[in-house]
């Protein structure tokens, strides 16, 4: 069974993660859970749809009135968190 969705050039997102309306994220493989804000939810949903890094930058700058440099930095930080929770898996 395929449990990952290919998202960026070198990272996959675990497709089994559950994201609630309130931003509660649960990884059923590890039992880890955490809360994320609206921007985090949006990023995770886009990743689940298979968005590329460029798609994400565009989506974030269009939706949240943020410049590309800030989006790049914040996204890099958020990816580190997602990797630590095994939501994003390096391939």
């Amino acid at each position: 069974m395929r449990t990952e969705v290919r998202t960026t050039a070198n990272m996959n997102i675990n497709k089994n993660i559950a994201i609630s309306e309130t931003g509660f994220v649960f990884n059923p493989l590890t039992g880890d859970s955490f809360n994320t804000n609206r921007v985090g939810q949006e990023i995770l949903r886009q990743l689940q749809k298979g968005a590329s890094i460029d798609d994400l930058y565009k989506h974030l700058t269009d939706t949240f009135s943020v410049d590309k440099a800030t989006a790049e930095k914040d996204l890099a930080d958020f990816f580190m968190v997602l990797k630590s929770y095994q939501i994003l898996i390096e391939v």
Binding site: A18, P28, L29, T30, G31
Partner: protein, 351 residues
């Protein structure tokens, strides 16, 4: 259409529902929720302060039984007396240390009193001991950290190149410490051997996340149910105070393989470390249900009920799935007990 439940009497040990809890009370809760049986519970206790003795909503009647160290004859005599009073149908022992005796008397209980048990064979019981777990892993197709038994501090210094530090120093029944140097290992050797006897086990240390499985085997190679769990909150004794069921197909497959290959009969708990590279290492196989077995019931797999059905010779279908993301959270609770009750169990051995 409602089906009438079969009335049965089940004796259960492990009523020590304390901070390092025995599995008795969770097993009883599972049986009380059985859809097939209306269960009268007979508690079997070793000590007068086991909290389950006083939980009258769960335990209908209790009897003290002799300590495992006195052997099988006093146990048989006591069970003979209890059976005369209660007409037991099934006994579920829940302590590692008493299982040896219960396995030995299982045939006598069945033939002389028609009391059913559902226990591993003596050989199965011995095969998963910590001291031989490495060999058990080899035979049953599961990775186990390399381990050696040591009988003296000198043995530790002679391990040489077989181990790199840190290592886990383990008691034969209980207790585990991580030693970073041979000197630390010797220190733990003294502490652990003084408490749990010899041998002490030196085990390769594998870092990662601990994940556990509660399971039940039919003794013919079929795993009737398996639910994986990760501890979310651990007490200073290393016991789970909270945990969550996982969607880990690989872990369930490994548990099924162990049970199939060993033809495990009865309940068990498999303790694994999942390493950073995603490999699973079996750290321990406990020969009875864990104290968190009620989580399996919460996830849709009533393992104690399945065990009782098999003990009574009924056909049981393996559980196919379970609910993921179910949590258990323990709590402590002060029972108020009249001195007369404590006096009764202390003097008559019954309550």
């Amino acid at each position: 259409m409602s089906t009438k439940k079969q009335k049965i009497t089940v004796a259960v040990t492990g009523l020590n529902n304390i901070d390092s809890p025995g599995p008795g009370i969770p097993v009883i809760r599972a049986l009380k929720e059985s859809t097939a049986f209306e269960v009268r519970i007979i508690g079997l206790s070793y000590e007068t302060l086991e909290p389950g003795l006083y939980m009258h909503d769960l335990v209908d009647k209790s009897y003290q039984i002799p300590m495992p160290s006195v052997g099988t004859q006093p146990l048989l005599e006591r069970l003979h007396y209890i059976h005369q009073q209660e007409k037991l149908d099934v006994i579920i022992p829940n302590f590692d240390a008493e299982l040896h005796n219960f396995i030995k008397v299982a045939d006598i209980l069945k033939n002389a009193y028609n009391i059913a048990t559902f226990l591993p064979t003596q050989k199965q019981f011995e095969s998963r001991h910590k001291s031989v777990l490495y060999e058990f892993g080899k035979e049953n197709g599961v990775k186990v950290p390399f381990a050696k038994m040591v009988f003296s501090p000198n043995d530790i210094y002679q391990l040489g190149s077989e181990f790199t530090y840190p290592v886990a120093v383990k008691g034969k029944y209980y207790d585990a410490q991580i030693a970073s140097t041979p000197e630390q290992a010797v220190n733990y050797f003294y502490k652990i051997s003084a408490k749990w006897g010899l041998p002490v086990i030196i085990q390769e240390f594998v870092s990662g996340n601990e994940v556990n499985v509660t399971a039940v085997g039919d003794g013919e190679g079929n795993c009737m149910g398996a639910v994986p769990m990760r501890k979310l909150y651990i007490t200073d004794k290393g016991k789970a105070w909270a945990g969550i069921s996982l969607a880990d197909e690989k872990l369930v497959e490994i548990a099924q393989t162990v049970i199939a290959n060993s033809k495990w009969k009865g309940g068990c708990e498999l303790e694994f470390i999942k390493s950073k590279d995603g490999e699973y290492y079996l750290l321990e196989m406990n020969p009875r249900f864990p104290a968190w077995v009620y989580l399996a019931v919460g996830c849709g797999q009533n393992h104690p009920e399945a065990l009782v059905k098999m003990a009574l010779g009924k056909k049981v279908k393996p559980f196919k799935d379970y609910e993921v993301g179910k949590m258990f959270i323990r709590y402590s609770y002060d029972q108020i007990v009249n001195l007369s009750e404590f006096e009764k169990i202390s003097t008559t051995g019954e309550l």
